[in-house]
């Protein structure tokens, strides 16, 4: 799975979880860019992403992600390691 494909699937998860069809993520996207992305929905997003990609993050990883791109990079590595 390419980084672009991962970003596309993550975008779909954001749309579903935040119930906003207009969300368009890019690698630089951060919580401030999306109104519905708050501390509570952040948890829901992480859980949904972990389930979708059948992987787990550590709490340290979560805290260190600076943007969506870094999260997608981590996902790509985890998928490659499977």
């Amino acid at each position: 799975m390419t980084a672009a494909e991962i970003l596309k699937e993550v975008n779909r998860i954001f749309i579903d979880q935040l119930e906003n069809e207009n969300i368009v993520l890019n690698r630089a996207s951060i919580a401030d860019d999306i109104e519905e992305w708050d501390s509570l929905t952040h948890i829901q997003l992480i859980v949904a992403i972990e389930k979708h990609f059948k992987t787990r993050f550590t709490s340290a990883e979560i805290q260190n992600f600076k943007n969506v791109g870094e999260m997608c990079d981590a996902l790509e590595k985890k998928i490659l390691l499977k």
Partner: protein, 130 residues
Amino acid sequence: MKKGDKFQTDFIVDDEIYNGFIDLFKDKNPLHTDAAFAEAKGFKGPVMHGNILNGFLSFFIGECLPEKNVLIHSQEIKYLHPVYKNEKLRLVAEVENVSESVKVAELKFFFENHTNLKIAKGKINIGIDL
């Protein structure tokens, strides 16, 4: 708490709970309070408020789990059959997923009555102190 853990708690919708719910929330809809009305609608008697079950869920999450540092993030419930006063109910819950990164546990649950009829089911996500 880990995936596969199961918990159960028993409840009875007794007079104290039924009357307390009405006193607090003022829902005196005849379906809940008028036996003749409820029977005319095909029920055996006044139907207990579905949200009483949400009160039981609150007690279960707050008081019956091994962790006390818990916070309900979301829950959904589907009502499958009516509940009548003094009916004995059992809440059965199973941990379906635990995300350690964000400290969340997802539980699926159901309520069943004394005949093992499932009267409601749903899912609940809680924040926990792992």
